[in-house]
Symmetry: C2
Subunit: 210 residues, 2 copies
DNA sequence: TAGATTGTTAATCGATTAACAATC
DNA sequence: TAGATTGTTAATCGATTAACAATC
């Protein structure tokens, strides 16, 4: 559940906030603003200005006293820090409703990712077209992954298949996985996982409901 | 970004782990196990046994020295704590690919939720059938929300519509929102929000990629 | 100049872990 | 009984915040 990266020395919780800063800065830029301050950004995100300055200070000095931050410059810096100055091709595993929604989602554009491959184990789906991709059989994953150097994948399969899929991904040297199946996966320590389970998130909120 | 609930006094970070414990316990139960220990559960989840015991101790004593926890009893207790001893009907806003995937998702079953309403602003979608639900116009939300007492909703609309939808939901006294749009929403302090943005999660992982 | 805001230090706050008596 | 494991306390660890000199 923890994911502190000892190598970089920067707390994982800080890394996790950078994409949120980046997203807010992009919205500010789109609204035509040129500059912002840690106070303004903090107000928008509901966090303290001190935390934003402290987080950024792990990576360098990006602001100016008196005037704050130049938005497009700070965006560029965050893109570099997060290795988003390149586009990452991603494999989707699972050609069901969720896989389809992900393949069709326009929100990856200009944010560092492009869905490039779709795999499924269901023979009847293999060969189908899905948003410009052709569904490939999961047994072709090793070949394709090696040839294309796939680094990131999204698990969008039923819960009972998820661990098996994770094992296959890991075997192909894919070491960043976004998992939508409602299960805690077991993977080697060098593999990074992010979890997204709507039920877990909804259950978190019901605690506070009357 | 923070969400500490001062009323209950129990740290929000603890509440957030309970659904994960619940999920793992359910898997253990399904595999036929009757009992478990904080060590076994911790090993599965990659967290310390001490943390599990400490988290649970906020709510009572659920184990037995020497033998650990009876799984089905602990599940029942967690269900009660998280107010999941009832089924929560949920409104989906947005009848696009994501809304469709959520409406069709079987994973809500037996975990406390049932998707019961779908709203959209697109006239051409209103009236369509979606997994047993009929898409209603968003302008009907106030009426339906009051009549049915809707408490929870999922935002599955494009980013530029999300804040407006959030405002409408809040105006209808819906105070638990799962937001899939890639934007930080502004809502009153009594409204609970969970965020799910695949891009933010992917960007978190790219930091660690070579 | 006066006002604003940074980056950083030290203090505070809170979360995690280690240790162990109690006891099944 | 011996071994295992809980619930809890105190210690440790880490994250957040307050404060402020520097300076645009």
């Amino acid at each position: 559940m923890k994911n502190d990266n000892v190598v970089s020395g920067i707390p994982d919780i800080v890394i996790g906030r950078l994409p949120v800063y980046l997203r807010a800065l992009t919205h500010l830029a789109e609204s035509g603003k040129m500059n912002t301050s840690s106070h303004e950004l903090g107000r928008r995100l509901g966090i303290s200005s001190a935390q934003i300055r402290k987080d950024l200070s792990h990576f360098g000095e990006f602001g100016k006293q008196g005037t704050g931050y130049n938005i497009s410059y700070l965006i560029d810096q965050l893109l570099q820090i997060l290795k988003l100055d390149q586009e990452w091709p991603v494999a989707i595993v699972g050609a069901g409703f969720l896989g389809h929604a992900l393949a069709h989602y326009q929100g990856f554009k200009h944010r560092g990712f492009v869905m490039r491959w779709v795999f499924d184990i269901d023979e009847s789906k293999v060969g189908d077209e899905m948003d410009g991709m052709v569904v490939q059989h999961l047994s072709d994953l090793p070949l394709v992954a090696e040839r294309e150097g796939i680094k990131m994948a999204i698990i969008a399969v039923p819960v009972n298949a998820a661990q098996n899929v994770a094992d296959r991904l890991v075997a192909c040297n894919i070491n960043a996985i976004l998992n939508y199946a409602p299960i805690n996966l077991s993977v080697p320590p060098n593999v990074h996982i992010q979890y997204s389970d709507p039920v877990v998130q909804m259950q978190h909120m019901t605690y506070y409901l009357s």
